[in-house]
Amino acid sequence: MYPRPIPETAIWPRRLYMLAVVIVLLLWLCPLFAIILTSFRSTADVMGGNLWGWPTEIGVIDNYRAVFTDTPMARYFLNSLIITIPSVIGVLVLSTLAGYVLSRYRFRGNMLIFALFVGGNFLPHQIMMIPVRDLMVRLDLIDTTAALIIFHVAFQTGFATLFMRNFIAALPDELFQAARAEGASPFQTLIHVAIPLVRPALAALAILIFTFVWNDYFWAVVLTVSDSVKPVTAGLANLRGEWVSAWNLISAGTIIVAVPPVVMFFLMQRHFIAGLTMGAVKG
């Protein structure tokens, strides 16, 4: 392990070290704390310019309630879930299938397909903006959650395939040979051998894709209009338009938007580093 572990017997150095880490962490998350604190302030304080002093009253409940009652935030939230969950599932399915094929079968063009997946994943979004919009128009999907789902699944599949391919390629060859020797079909091998083994990778990938999709703003702006389909990121931008200097409300909205990915992350974090370790970090 590097850096060298502080020996378990050195209790004081360990405590001091933790203290130092906590201090760095506080600095690191300082902007976040600032906004959390602000979200607790009452409107009167904010309007009166009392942004950092002792709050005259606590506005947490009012602020957070305002976000949900004065705006369609609840709706945006639901939309985001409607968009994000199928996207994550779609990406996981497609990329597992593609990653399995790319890592377990040698055929001409294997590398080329892989390269295109990887390369496409690095394209600037803007270059696809107009044609994707046109495509969705032609499919009559513009301003529907389906448009966002299709786009996100298509785009994230590039990255996810790279990830899954590396992960499955890192599994021992002999497991697959054993399955084949036992008469399992390629599809059975995928279901019974590959997928159970890549579960940690799927977990890590699920977190990443979830945050990518949940956090998308650009495509939300390009492909949606109606409140009934707009995700929270675009919703948050809307809020800012309405509440320009009501920093307490904006802060509350911001925190609310951030909650699901943070929760998701904490739920799955056990697998996160482990999953990444095998999948992403290999070339």
Partner: protein, 294 residues
């Protein structure tokens, strides 16, 4: 039928399995990219007729001062973003200790990674707000007055990049943590026996083992820098007067605000070419390491 399937399944199965991903990805992503290049040779307002102008858009771009501002800003992004891998590594090293509670702190360090860039943009706009913001507060503590960084054409890009670095550093940190997990215990032991310590250990033993991670961190960072859009859109809309614009944002602005989709596509294509250089570098690296069997 049954036997036909059994005979042919060795190639049919993989084909069927990979087909959906390929179809979707190629149609939605790759075809769109190609079509965009095609659009860049036209003058088009997004709904009317497309008028062929050949390289007209590119010629205009060549003479557009805003283009160079954006290009310069992209460069600033690129250069400043390169701070993300080393800082990410530093934090990863800091938290890579097995002490009770460290796991939880580590997870807290990850938070910026999962925040939406809109969120980060809002957070930092708040930090930078003149008079009320955190930055102003800090300056005031030292008896100084904070510059209004978001309205100063000289500071604005740096200010946005610093905000954008926040999640980017986190991403690099996560990658490095994964990499540090994978270090060979024996190599480190060998290094220690050879008397390498501290910086020497990092430089000669640890970093060489992290080259793959560093490579990915740099790749992700470069892409992030070139793609930067959300933060600019949220924090300044390219302002003041275009001074914080980058190619991606300028493209968006031209297409959406000025209704010049052909011109926007041309900007996107230029961005694409810049990116292509990088993608090519990345792919050759990957393919080469594949061939080495890694």
């Amino acid at each position: 039928m049954q036997t036909l399937w059994r005979r042919q399944r060795w190639w049919l199965t993989p084909t069927l399995l990979i087909a959906p991903a390929i179809l979707l990805f190629f149609i939605v992503i790759l075809l769109s990219a190609v079509r965009s290049v095609w659009i860049s040779f036209h003058e088009w307002d997004g709904f009317g007729e497309m008028i062929w102008v050949g390289l007209g858009n590119y010629v205009e771009l060549y003479n557009d001062p805003q283009f160079y501002v954006s290009l310069k800003n992209n460069l600033i992004w690129l250069v400043m973003f390169m701070a993300a891998p080393p800082i990410g590594l530093a934090i990863a090293l800091l938290v890579n200790q097995k002490i009770a509670g460290m796991r939880f702190l580590k997870s807290l360090f990850f938070i910026p990674l999962v925040l939406a860039s809109v969120t980060v943009g809002v957070v930092f706009t708040w930090v930078y707000t003149p008079e009320f913001g955190l930055l102003a507060l800090i300056f005031r503590a030292f008896g100084a007055v904070a510059p209004a960084v978001l309205s100063d054409e000289h500071f604005v890009t740096f200010a946005i990049v610093i905000a954008a670095l926040w999640p980017q550093i986190t991403f690099c940190m996560v990658l490095y943590l994964a990499g540090l997990n994978n270090l060979s215990e024996e190599l480190i032991g060998a290094g220690r026996v050879d008397g390498a310590r501290g910086w020497n250990m990092l430089r000669h033993i640890v970093l060489p083992q992290l080259t793959q991670v560093t490579f990915i961190a740099i790749a992700v960072t470069v892409v992030g820098a070139l793609r930067s859009f959300d933060m600019i859109s949220v924090m300044t809309s390219g302002g003041p007067f275009g001074s914080s614009s980058v190619l991606a944002y300028q493209m968006y602005e031209q297409s959406i605000f000025s209704y010049r989709f052909g011109y926007g596509a041309a900007i996107a294509s230029v961005l694409f070419v810049i990116m292509a250089v990088f993608i090519a570098w990345y792919l050759t690296h990957i393919i080469r390491s594949e061939e080495r069997g890694g």
